[in-house]
């Protein structure tokens, strides 16, 4: 079973901008949802979402935190 990296974004209040708050390793999207909610539970988030890192497409640089190893790096 291969885990993938999912980046976690959240905002505390309606109207706030989504902020990158961390990442989780998970076997699939459903596990990533739960892991993110349970791992980053220090706030009463208004909204949280996860995205598989490999689905993030770098725009202006290839050495950013989300572009390592075809999107699967940490």
């Amino acid at each position: 079973m291969i885990e993938r990296v999912y980046d976690v974004f959240a905002r505390k209040h309606r109207g706030d901008q989504l902020a990158h708050i961390g990442y989780v390793d998970a076997l699939d999207d459903e596990m990533a949802r739960v892991y993110a909610w349970k791992t980053y539970d220090e706030e009463n988030w208004f909204e949280m979402c996860v995205i598989r890192r490999s689905n993030i497409i770098p725009v202006n640089r290839q050495d950013g935190p989300f572009s390592g190893s075809k999107g699967e790096g940490k």
Binding site: V34, Y35, K38
Partner: protein
């Protein structure tokens, strides 16, 4: 909205039945929490360990809210939580022992936690005000438990034959005591249905089978053919046996009794 239940309108049978219903839910929640807590450091990944840690906290929080309802029916929650022997626990028998492997706790997450949620859903839609107001938040938190359970159940079902076999055996072992617990149809259970406090055992069992049918089929378990355990103990609302002593000592906080502050 249904007319709310007035506790003073319940007769002796009704009060006993409501005590039993609250206790069986609270004790099952507390034992579910203990079983999750066993895996804080042994889960397959850090994230899975954090998740079961959080789920253990959820279960204990839910149990605490349920025990508090006992005040309405003349029982002191503090004594109930900290002074009963294992033989008096009313938790579902499927949680009596620790789970030896990850497939076992995933099966419990799926088979047992889901059954408790179905029972709580029936309770939350009845006439008892405390259940109507407090249980919906529990059920919202339980949605994450169910999501994780289903995701892991599918993963293990699709993995090696050994893991799949462990999941199948665990599922087969857990279902009979759970079906006996959820399908209880004795006098006290009927009294709660008649009083509008909860749903009928038939409807809850049907809803439960519907929720689990496809998942169980992944490991060749036909949930419609599984029979509930026999040997129902109506006084404890469960089958024979009781939780292991080590777990109950942890539940009661025996080792730190001197520090108990309430």
């Amino acid at each position: 909205m249904k007319e709310l239940l007035e506790i003073r309108d319940l007769d002796g049978t009704g009060i006993s039945a409501l005590r039993r219903l609250i206790l069986t839910l609270a004790d099952s929640k507390r034992m579910m929490g203990i079983r999750y807590s066993d895996w804080l450091l042994g889960a397959p990944s850090i994230e899975a360990g954090i998740a079961v840690s959080s789920m253990a906290q959820d279960e204990w929080g839910h149990a605490r809210l349920l025990y508090a309802m006992l005040k309405d029916v003349g029982l002191e929650p503090l004594k109930i939580e900290h002074e009963r022997p294992a033989e008096e626990y009313m938790s579902v028998g499927a949680l009596d022992g620790a789970f030896e492997h990850w497939a076992g706790i995933v099966a419990a997450m799926t088979v047992v936690d889901e059954a408790i949620s179905v029972a709580l859903l029936g309770f939350s839609r009845g006439r008892y005000e405390a259940a109507r107001t407090r249980v919906p938040k529990m059920l919202a938190e339980e949605e994450f438990h169910a999501s994780l359970a289903k995701a892991w159940y599918r993963r293990i079902a699709e993995s090696s034959s050994k893991a799949r076999s462990l999941l199948r055996d665990s599922t087969k072992g857990l279902l009979p005591p759970v079906l006996a617990w959820l399908g209880a149809d004795d006098e006290a259970a009927k009294a709660m249905v008649t009083a509008g406090v909860t749903k009928s055992s038939e409807s809850m069992t049907e809803a439960y089978r519907d929720r689990l049918r496809d998942l169980a089929a992944l490991v060749e378990v036909n949930i419609d053919q599984v029979q509930p355990d026999s040997g129902w103990d109506k006084d404890r609302a469960r089958g024979p046996g009781c939780p292991d002593e080590d777990a109950v000592e942890r539940v009661r906080g025996d080792r730190n009794r001197a520090l108990l502050v309430e």
